[in-house]
Amino acid sequence: MNALLSHRATKPLLFVLALLPLAQLVYRALTDSLGANPAEALSRGSGDWVLRFLCLTLAVTPARQWTGWNALARLRRMLGLYAFFYGVLHFLCYAWLDMGFVPADIVRDIPKRPFVLAGFAALMLMLPLAATSFNRAIKAMGGLRWRRLHRLVYLIVVLALLHFYWMRAGKHDFAEVGVYAAIVAVLLGWRIYAAWRARASATARRDAAHAKQPVALHVTARARPSPPSAGT
């Protein structure tokens, strides 16, 4: 599997696959088959794919560790960038189809509606991540700082969920929101569990070390937990 994932064609294939949802929306728009309310169908269609790509991006590291398919990590950046790409499309749908591209109306509308604000905040937080997604940015920032910045994705996915939840709240229709919330809960819960285990094992190591060392060191021994592995 790792060999397959490392294949030269894997990334281009994923690139094309990830464009299929857009292709489908464009095709349906051109053939007038988006239903009675095409604007709504485009907004919702693009929004769904932001959440899906966010979930896929966050699933890479747990999946890598569960399956041992470490080459999955190669694909994470592209998945994350596609989440951003569909996020931009989703915003354009709102700005254009709903707000008629009138900047003053958009600026007035965003802070007025919590659910729009949550979505907009998620998109704004995605900007620095997309902007630092290339190798030279990682090098320039240093791995640790880059990783810390990119932990914003946890906040982003929570905001995206909140946006979806509030959107559906008017209909009291939480079935679909629940599915995404469960997926995100598993993906984030796994990270908390992994961090907790890393801390526990660090403590165990430290205690083991203490047993061999003189008591005097004890005061300074609040060792920082080892930072989570690169794939957060």
């Binding site: 239903g35 309310n37 008629g100 007025k112 509030w166």
Partner: protein, 328 residues
């Protein structure tokens, strides 16, 4: 080419007559054919129709043009396909395609409507008796959904006032409450707890008596398709669509203002009156504009929403002196 074709034009009154006359002609023919068929067979129950098939598959419901002031807008009726294929009827699911897909099993015969509460003549009305209660009128109303989209629908029915007058409300009656059928066997949407079933809507008595308040039995010249609230529903054109209860089974006259289903579900978002009002936003979106289904091209700016959905001249006086931002 939905993206490019400009579908937004304002038909002159002359133009808008044409499509009506086309289907009126066919309706005429169909009603004569049906009259013949009716001699041999009982009137068939209505059904959920495939929206794509267009009108012409349900029993016709002949009507004359309404004389009620404001009852015939000159705007172009929304395509039958959209009217019957894109709507909310939560008893069949929360997706707007669900009603057309899942209302096929709704049994609309036999059907009775219980009239109870503060009236002199309580009792149970058979749907066939209600169909004969008053002359059927065609009314072309704008419908504005609270979600920000709108349609123009040619309904068939008569003023609810016709029924109200016959049952004679007592002096205590201040409000009229409407209850929708809630039968889990026929309505798969009842499995979800989106709302407390049965669906309850209500009007003030003077609103219920207003001539524009329609007890509808049909649309596009035929009996109502199941997905649109067969066999009878309310249509209150100056209020958001959810006020117009569908598949009504119970009408109760009461002294106290009832709590409607949506008020119970989200009191901060839905008020009792729910008059269409561009100045009072829904907490999560603006009500200032709307998208007319099938008319406004994809990239066209949404059209402004009118106070009382454009029926202010007819109904504005019902709310004289009321703070509409408070009584939303």
């Amino acid at each position: 080419m939905h993206l490019i074709r400009d579908r937004c034009f304002t038909p002159s009154p002359g133009e808008s007559v044409t499509p009506r006359s086309v289907y009126a002609q066919r309706r005429d023919f169909l009603s004569r054919a049906a009259a013949l068929a009716a001699l041999a067979a009982p009137w068939p129950a209505s059904a959920a129709v495939d929206p794509a098939a267009g009108p012409g598959r349900l029993p016709p419901l002949p009507a004359s043009r309404s004389e009620v002031n404001g009852a015939l807008t000159m705007e172009k009726p929304t395509a039958y396909q959209d009217v019957t294929g894109y709507n909310n009827f939560y008893e069949f699911g929360t997706d707007k395609a669900d009603p057309a897909r899942r209302a096929g099993g709704l049994k609309t015969r036999p059907w009775t409507v219980v009239v109870e509460g503060e009236v002199k003549h309580r009792g149970t009305w058979d749907i066939d008796a209600l169909l004969k209660l008053a002359a059927m009128e065609e009314r072309i109303y704008r419908l504005r959904c609270v979600e920000g989209w709108s349609m123009v629908i040619p309904w068939v029915g008569y003023s609810l006032a016709e029924l109200v007058r016959r049952v004679e409300p007592t002096g205590n009656a201040r409000f009229v409450q409407f209850e929708t059928l809630a039968d889990a066997k026929q309505m798969p949407g009842l499995r979800s707890s989106v709302l407390d079933w049965p669906y309850v809507e209500a009007l003030r008595l003077d609103e219920a008596m207003h001539p524009l308040t329609l007890l509808a039995f049909g649309l596009y010249g035929e009996v109502l398709p199941n997905q649109n609230g067969a066999p009878l529903r309310l249509v209150v054109p100056w209020k958001y669509g959810f006020k117009s209860a569908k598949s009504i089974q119970r009408i109760r006259f009461v002294a106290k203002q009832p709590t409607t289903s949506w008020e119970a579900a989200a009191p901060s978002e839905y008020g009792f009156y729910s008059n269409v009002n561009p100045k009072v936003d829904h907490p999560r979106w603006s009500q200032a504009t709307e998208r007319r289904i099938g008319e406004d091209g994809l990239f066209k700016k949404k059209r402004p929403t009118l106070p009382f959905n454009g029926y202010e001249a007819q109904v504005g006086q019902l709310y004289a002196g009321m703070d509409l931002a408070k009584f939303y």
